[in-house]
């Protein structure tokens, strides 16, 4: 026995959105404030510091550039997986969603290479405020990527069974996961220049 909740797969006639879509946007709104606070912290530290290193003094711009490309590509495959469902092409959905998950793993692997290079050189968060904010922001972003992998992995394998029973609801789920994933991409789009290039 469970409650009957309306507007799970069909949008609300007045607001025009499903519950989940409204919910995920509200969640993203809170994420905006979370990362907003961190960017604010970055500015406070940078302006208050006597010297502030250029990102490339500590960090590897080529690896970060590669990671940016990886993440942007995963954003494309993510939106394409949703589009494939819209075109009723489940096989193509699987392909694109699989690519998204693989690319996300790629992002984490590159991040791992970067982190271990830092530790190898003796760069730790405690060294200075630049490295502190670098590790905090990219670490938190990395956790978001891991969260995305879990959600997308679920939608790729066990969760995709819903396509045969409630296709509309499933497409809605993929759309919400996509919104989250694009947000993770969007945060990186700001993190990349702020930490590596300035």
């Amino acid at each position: 026995m469970s409650a009957v909740i309306p507007y799970i797969s069909k949008p609300h006639p007045v607001t025009g959105v499903t519950n989940a879509k409204f919910g995920i946007w509200l969640f993203l709104a809170s994420e905006v404030m979370l990362f907003g606070a961190l960017f604010s912290t970055y500015i406070v530290l940078r302006v208050g510091a006597e010297t502030w290193p250029h990102g490339s003094e500590y960090l590897s711009v080529p690896w970060a550039f590669a990671n940016t490309v990886v993440l942007i590509t995963s954003s494309l495959t993510m939106v394409m997986s949703w589009a494939a469902l819209q075109m009723n092409n489940f096989a193509k959905y699987k392909k694109y969603m699989g690519a998204t998950v693989l690319l996300s793993f790629g992002f984490l692997i590159i991040k791992y290479i970067e982190y271990s290079a830092k530790f190898h050189h003796g760069y730790f968060p405690a060294n200075n405020t630049f490295l502190a904010i670098y590790f905090t922001m990219t670490g938190l972003h990395g956790l978001h990527v891991i969260g995305g992998i879990i959600v997308n992995g679920y939608l790729l394998f066990p969760g995709s069974k819903m396509w045969s029973t409630e296709p509309e609801r499933f497409a809605g789920r993929v759309e919400c996961a996509g919104l989250y994933w694009h947000f993770v991409d969007l945060v990186w789009i700001f993190l990349f220049p702020v930490l590596y290039l300035l």
Partner: protein
Amino acid sequence: MSSHHEEGFIRKYIFSTDHKVIGIQYGLGAMFFLLMGFGLMLMMRWQIAFPGKSIPFIGKLLTQDGILSPELYNQFGAMHGTIMVFLGVVPMAVGAFGNYLLPLQVGAQDMAFPKLNMASFWVFFVGGLVMLYSFLLPGGAAQSGWTSYPPLSNIAPAGQTAWLIGMVFLITSSLLGSVNIIVTAVQLRVPGLSFFRLPFLVWAQLVTSFLLLLAFPPLEAAGVLQLMDRVFGTSFFMPSGLVVSGQALEVSGGGNPLLWQHLFWFLAHPEVYVLILPALGIVAEIVATNTRKPLYGYNTAVYAIIFLGFMSFIVWAHHMFMTGMGTGMSAFFQATTMIISIPSVIVLTVLLLTLWGASIRFTVPMLFALAFLPMFAIGGLTGLPLGLTASDIYLHDTYYVIGHFHYVVAPGTLMALMGGVYHWYPKITGRMFNKTLGKLHFWGTFIGMNGIFAPMFFIGMAGVSRRLYDATIYEMARSVQPLNVIMTYSSWLLAAAQVLFLINIFASLRKPKEAAADNPWEATTLEWAAPTPPLPHQNFPEPLEAYRGPYEYNTTSREFAPQHLQEA
């Protein structure tokens, strides 16, 4: 629905997705923590009134000689604030009342995301456990005040780390809960229940949830940064050149302690409205029901709380007037602080003017709601001298501040919440509480609360700082020491009154169910249209529709016209 199989005990009462069960879980959890926070306060009050005397009965359990040590005093102070705000009032106001009542008041079968709702409670539960566990850590629980200002909190014992981890859980729980409440209030209203037909409590919960949603993440960020400082030795909040007890701290420095204060108060000012808005909503419900007339100026009140919510985001630095602020910044924050007083006054006036021309039933919940009005007025008025920098120079961080915000949250919010418990008790349990005990509880609470908090204004006026373990070493504090004794005895009265409350709500459960308890107050909003208690996972046997505004008392030929009845 047709497959009507019974749920097992665990699914039904522990890991339930039913908003009513979750609401009650929140309510019981919050009640436990409120009592615990209250207990901490009783012990601190003893030390303040009788410094260096051992605490009667339980003192020996805490320390060898039964005297509260300064370390324990600071722990109790920090944890009293934390527990009361984050584990007591918010879970009660938003978790319990929001969860239980909001779906009923909008006519829905459950919250929009029942599983998320369950997750929200269990994350809160874990956060509460972490906070409790922190008392057992070496060095004890957090002891840098509920505000946890660094660098003090950065160099505090391990309890502070547990505090931060606990806060991250509590914040996550609140975020999940607030998303749920907003989506439910917007999407799941039954047909005909337009925004301006919503009960005022739903509006209050909606605005509250937006505050939680957008103000909590900065504190989460700040919590993560402080965790980094404590665990990985970073210096987000540590400036260079710190020397603690003669030893230079081995940190890189370059951070800024004021950054924490900004991020903290960016949450903690809206948090004040998170505490007060649901209380206002509950009071509005009780007042409308027991005056037998519509709220005076419902629309005005709704616009006022929306404006209040918005403004609450841009007043935060008025907590920081003494941090070395110049004229420009303080002018801005004084102005916004004065502006935010206006919508509060409007809501209070709306409630007051509703009394005019009413037929006031002095039921137990109504007594609490009526007492809320002057208490909130005192809390609001005394904010005035604190909001102006000139008088704040003298009053900042004195007992006056404690008196001010306690008048808002203790005799204000807490009494409204108690009134809410009485008001909806018949709907939740199907039984009526004992009215005589209820009235005794009310008078004990009212006198006890005022006995505790009114003297604080005089102690603050005498210039005594807050959070002092033993103020009597100051000559200027000795003249007001008798007031502290009065306050301590008042706190015992308050404790005694709460015993009556607990007896009342738990003993009344043993009474037989009353058949006519579906709508004992003859109220109009949708929750009273449900059976008693509302059906599990379904609430209403038939889908409802709303045909009119929330408080149609004496406006038609009927004495009261419930929202769901088509004919009036």
